[in-house]
Structure formats: structure tokens, C-alpha cells
Amino acid sequence: MELLSEDDLNLKEMTGEELDRAWDLWFDLAQATNEFDPPYTHGVFVLCELDSAPTAPTQESPPGAATAHPEHPRRE
């Protein structure tokens, strides 16, 4: 059973330079979703709900988007 996509598994075929370029492109694109990321993805605070600063609509937002980082409220 294939658990990951072919795009993921093709990473094994890449040279180190190609992997760096692929990661760099992916990371650039991934910046677009920064505002919607949960505050934590690792560590022991992942279940913590930080108090939100009222800078963004709380309805129709994806999970995690309504909670701005306490020290870095979203800039409009």
C-alpha cells in the first residue's frame, strides 16, 4: 500500500541540490498559509488555546485561524 503520494516518494530520486530547490520552492509557497497555521505543531503546547486578539473574524475561519498568536496578532 502506498502511504504517500508519488511526488513525496520521488524525493528519494533527487540529488541534494534538487532536494534543496524543491524544499525552497515548497517553503516559499507554504508561507501563504502562515496566518492560518495553528500556533504549535510540536511540543507540549499543541492542545493549548491561546487567547485571541480580536484582529480577525472568528466566523468562517479555518480551524486555528481564529486564534492569533498572543505576541503577534495578525496584521490587517
Binding site: L3, Q31, N34, V44, L47
Partner: protein, 262 residues
């Protein structure tokens, strides 16, 4: 451009090994998936390692995010420390540190910073500890465990894989001594569905265990996080922020919520 988290790993270890790349960027290192925007490291549990990590982070203009101080009193209790800065292209770089990764034995952590790992060009957590770290409450980590397991010997793969077809393929020859339920189901002549169900039960149990552990930390950190928020720690330069976050933690954050029953 190179993966900045790989570069940071080497920078952290310039004066000697103190930080092993883990979690999502380790999965990138093993060439399985581009799956994480953050960097996570297992830090050696010494004051010197904390000092050097703070120096590197300060050099990059990092600030504290809400989290535990990068201080052994809390890291030794399983807490995690979180930082953030922007790279020269303005991209968000998040750096997370633990010294007691979940489900990894202290001797495995100690071995990371001892020979023969010292001779490797980049310090990265090994496959089996990485697999155990990935046994989180998140469903998306379990397919990664299956792929990471393929990189192991068949004797170890059968003990760790989340892929029912691999369990069925390996159980007869390599699973003789396994106490794992999916392997036992396969060895007993169970159907593929039996193995799938056993794997699902196992994953659910692991997810629930991780969630229960994290709940202890969540409950123990609630007042502390409110104090951090009020103190605007992220607005302070790192040396001052470190001093201030330690002061707040001394008042509000138990060293080890798993021991205190907090």
C-alpha cells in the same frame, strides 16, 4: 537555497554536538515528504547547550513565542521552548526545542550526542526514535510512520509499520516473537481486514495516550500562558525576554506536570 533548518542544525552544532534535527525536518532529511514549515530539535540537556542555542537564535533576531523557557529546570520536565524569526527573504522561521522528546528513552537521547553520531555531517534523530516521536495525537503522522518503517530492517519494520500489507508480508517470517496485535492477527491467519482493524485500534490507542499526556501539560500551563501573554514576551529582545520568561515560569509553571500531578 539550502533548507534553512538544515543550516541551523549545523550552526547549532558548530562548537560541538548539542542539537539533533527531529520531527518534520528529519522526515525531509530522510527524503520522505516536504511536510513541515517548522524546525524541531532535540537539545542536549546541559546548560551549555541552552546557552549556545540562545546565542544562535539571538544572532538571527529570534524572539520567544509562548512556551517554556529554554532552561533545564523546565526542559527536564518535558516542556518545549518555541522561537520565531524571519529569514532574509522575510519567510517565517519557527524553531522548537525539547530535551525530553516523548517516547524516547534518556539513553537514546544521550547517544545522539556521543560517538559515532559525532562523525556524521548533520545530526539527525535516528529512524526508530523518530517513529516513536511521530506517535502523536495527529492522524497525519501515521502514514509517515509507515514510510519511515520501510527504511528499517524487516525485523524492525514488522514491529513498527502502519501499513497492513507490510504487516501481512513480514509477519510470518519476521514476526515470530512479536507481541504486537496486528502482527499476531496476521500470524494467526487473520484476514487483511483483521490486520487493518488491529492497526486502527493500535493507532487510536497511541493517539489517545499522546492526547492524555498533552492534556496534563495544557492544564498545567494555562495560568502561565496568560501571564506570558500579558508580559508581551515576544516584543522583547531575546536576552531580556529569557530573563523575564524565567521569572514568570518560576512563579507559574511547574517543572514537571507529570510528576506533580498538576
Amino acid at each position: 537555497m539550502r533548507n534553512i533548518y538544515f543550516d541551523l542544525t549545523q550552526e547549532l552544532n558548530t562548537e560541538g554536538p548539542i542539537a539533533a534535527l527531529a520531527s518534520g525536518q528529519a522526515v525531509v532529511f530522510y527524503r520522505l515528504a516536504l511536510m513541515s514549515k517548522d524546525g524541531d530539535w532535540i537539545l542536549q540537556e546541559t546548560p551549555e547547550a541552552c546557552r549556545r542555542a540562545l546565542t544562535v537564535l539571538e544572532k538571527h533576531g529570534a524572539h520567544y513565542r509562548s512556551g517554556a523557557p529554554l532552561d533545564l529546570r523546565w526542559l527536564g520536565g518535558g516542556w518545549s521552548s518555541h522561537f520565531e524569526f524571519s529569514d532574509p527573504q522575510g519567510r517565517r522561521i519557527r524553531c522548537d526545542f525539547v530535551t525530553r522528546p516523548p517516547r524516547v528513552r534518556p539513553e537514546e537521547v544521550a547517544a545522539l550526542f556521543s560517538p559515532p553520531h559525532l562523525l556524521e555531517p548533520m545530526l539527525v534523530v535516528g529512524l526508530e526514535p523518530l517513529i516513536r516521536m511521530k506517535r502523536t495525537q495527529r492522524a497525519k503522522d501515521y502514514p509517515i510512520i509507515g514510510e519511515l518503517s520501510r527504511l528499517l530492517s524487516p525485523e524492525r519494520e514488522v514491529e513498527l509499520t502502519t501499513d497492513p500489507d507490510r504487516v501481512l508480508a513480514l509477519a510470518t517470517v519476521y514476526g515470530k516473537n512479536s507481541e504486537r496485535m496486528p502482527v499476531r492477527a496476521a500470524r494467526a491467519g487473520g484476514s487483511r481486514e483483521d490486520v487493518v482493524v488491529a492497526l486502527a485500534r493500535e493507532a487510536d490507542r497511541l493517539q489517545q495516550e499522546d492526547r492524555a499526556r498533552l492534556d496534563r501539560y495544557r492544564l498545567a500551563s494555562e495560568p502561565y500562558l496568560r501571564e506570558l501573554q500579558a508580559a508581551k514576551i515576544g516584543d522583547l529582545a531575546l536576552p531580556l525576554a529569557h530573563e523575564r520568561i524565567c521569572e514568570i515560569a518560576e512563579r507559574w509553571l511547574p517543572f514537571n506536570p507529570l510528576e506533580t500531578g498538576a
